[in-house]
Symmetry: C2
Subunit: 428 residues, 2 copies
């Protein structure tokens, strides 16, 4: 049993509880033993009466976590510098592993934490502090470890990316959009940390350590917010072939210097980051071996952030198993219960050449209706004397039904040829 | 010293040598000791006379690798089922770690390899076998380990993605595009394994084990190639709001069954995979905790594939260091040599309101020219009586030069207001 102490039971804390509950069987198989939240520390236990803690114990005392020798891992999800800083230091000093989602405290004190962890032969994991559920930090530390990272561009703040997306999509100004985002819970009551770029700057400080082994502070990062971005600039940008994104930029300059900046940035519409919309986050890097790579996903929220936290716990557990290869090997492969191909679903695009007869479309739709295949879109084009092309996109149906229908469609007298059948995924 | 034996010296083998040579200092710092290719096995040493091996020894005998007790890791980059299968089995049986880029042999024999590795307390790494330099496999094993993976869609073959991109971009048919890709070295002389979807099917078999813990074979994957995709279908797809991509699809069906397919697929133009162009690969997954996530990058080539191989070697080395936290901690942070913000470069978008006087543009350009700032794009719009709006996008210049120029621009009599200054990254 991996016994965990949890500090904080907001969105992220509850997300962690849900994930461990819902995926317990799968996690136990991966780790080789169950992950168990033994004790949860909160300020006011009454606030959480409605939550099902299973057999986790609730406490208001940090000492109940730190002095419990069974607890090997402390998860901190209260955010902010104080008292998180003290909790993390004490946990490391007591020989406990720490997992945190707290970008502010990591950004300000990472060097101290790393030194404490080294001294006490433990570790601190903080994947959730940057990019929510996206494994950015882990990929930089291991997956791209062969590379010198030449540059790193990130969309690291979901609130501002949501607002910029909406300014453009809904053609409305910043102030109105911010207000809407606040009403939807996608921007905080005091949004200044997000809007000003400071939140992204904290995250960039963390990435500076991981990607460039550089110890910087927020004061070393130039940051500028999105509060002055107007709808007009957004429109001109598009006209000129650009999107406007709040980017965090880390780069090598002149061979040996580094530059770290956060500011609204116009990037070509064809750039992968231009297609990161709404509250999604992303990191786009250039490595001297791998070239360009992009990682993207949800940058905030209880469940995506919880995903990173629980994956960090799993990773720590991997280091403490007897099997040297628990992290990587797949020794428990099962025979899959496969759905026969004929019974799988797909939507379809069908292109037919037909005699341009008034009843042909009705006949085609009749064949599909008989097989209970409903139609989502139709295009009809006259291509030459009396020959038309008809394109149909269906709703999802079984492969065997479509195979049968295609055969019946081609049997219709007025159908000259079934030119193409291509599968369609609308809901992906 | 981590001593490595390398089998194969094609593109990927040479990529590995280059990366280890070029990034040696950085790798040594990460791992705590140097990575050294001790012995390279090739069929015909004469073919490689032009290559600088450093102090690596060349051999034609597998026994020189397998019987060398200093060699802890065998890297196999010859591809194909035979003789790679024998080499990998023997290496594992001799207690050596294996790193391979060989999707075919892993797809066919992964269960055997995993069992052998477990039995002999070693491991087999194969990040390079799927998605080249993208850490897909590692992210599924660790970064997303808290998740039940609900579905996985991949663009796993660079050749076919390149061809589909070019059919659309260059408005030419499949046959012509394939021929061009072959001339550019982006498709093989016999392209059938790529074109038919079989290559992607092999990769999907590997991902089925990692993401769904399922032991399947290529025969369990329905696959269909891109040879019948026409320019016309590509155009109609776009008209209807879709892109056509060769996707590998893995999904849960009806609660407990799984389905694995590879086929050309129309996906909405707004889908992240619709924006993966040319030879780029990508994996798009849905996890029950993290939601949607996308990883993309170069799926083939000596350097990206070498990046994955060398990162695998680093990961194995992490497991063999004395420091429990070598993989994750950053104990050697340096003070960064920061480029002062004023000296960093950026291109700029400037929007000005001006009196619509014939000489105003000349005056503006004069100010910029004086600061040696060259202009990339200009938009001029009359907005009301005698007032125009001018938008200028510059080429990169220093921040201090731009700050000075903005101040001079606003001093011009005919300039009413500098409305916006936004940084631009054209080359990102």
């Amino acid at each position: 049993m991996i016994e965990v102490g949890l500090i904080g039971l907001g969105n992220v804390g509850q997300g962690i509880l849900n994930i461990i509950q819902e995926n317990q069987a799968l996690l136990t198989q991966r780790v080789g033993q169950p992950i168990h939240i033994k004790t949860i520390m909160v300020r006011d236990p009454k606030k959480y009466n409605h939550i099902d803690f299973g057999d986790s114990k609730i406490t208001t005392q940090f000492s109940d976590l730190i002095n419990d020798n069974e607890i090997k891992i402390i998860v901190e999800v209260i955010g902010g510098e104080t008292p998180a800083y003290d909790y993390i230091c004490q946990a490391l000093e007591h020989g406990k592993y720490v997992v945190t989602a707290n970008k502010e405290v990591v950004s300000k004190h990472q060097k101290t934490f790393f030194e404490l962890a080294k001294k006490h032969q433990v570790d601190i994991y903080y994947e959730a502090a940057v990019g929510g559920g996206i494994p950015i930090i882990r990929s930089l530390k291991v997956g791209f470890s062969a590379n010198k990272i030449e540059s790193l561009l990130g969309i690291l703040n979901g609130t501002t990316n949501y607002i910029l997306t909406k300014i453009e999509q809904d053609s409305q100004e910043f102030d109105v959009t911010l207000k809407e985002a606040q009403e939807l819970g996608l921007a905080e009551a005091d949004p200044s940390m997000d809007i000003s770029g400071l939140d992204a700057a904290h995250k960039l400080v963390i990435l500076a350590a991981v990607a460039f082994k550089s110890n910087i502070q927020v004061k070393d990062v130039f940051y500028e917010g999105i509060e002055n971005i107007t709808l007009k600039d957004m429109k001109y940008a598009k006209e000129l072939g650009f999107a406007i994104k709040l980017l965090a930029l880390a780069k090598h300059v002149n061979g040996k210097q580094l530059s770290f900046k956060v500011h609204p940035t116009m990037i070509p519409l064809s750039h992968p980051l231009a297609n990161i919309h709404n509250e999604m986050n992303a990191a786009y890097l250039k490595g001297n071996a791998v070239g360009e790579a992009l990682l993207s996903g949800k940058g905030a929220g209880g469940s995506p952030t919880g995903s990173a936290i629980v994956s960090d716990i799993v990773d720590i557990a991997f280091d403490h198993t007897q099997d040297v290869n628990r992290r990587n090997l797949e020794p428990n492969l099962k025979t899959a219960d496969l759905c026969p191909f004929e019974d799988t679903d797909s939507a379809f695009y069908i292109r037919l050449k037909v005699n341009d007869h008034h009843s042909v479309l009705e006949q085609l739709l009749g064949v599909l209706a008989k097989a209970e295949i409903s139609v989502s879109k139709i295009l009809q084009k006259e291509i030459q004397n009396n020959i038309a092309e008809i394109v149909i996109i269906t709703h999802p149906t079984k492969e065997h039904q479509m195979a049968q229908s295609i055969s019946e469609l081609t049997d219709i007298d007025t159908v000259k040829k079934c030119c193409s059948v291509i599968r369609v995924e609308e809901q992906v």
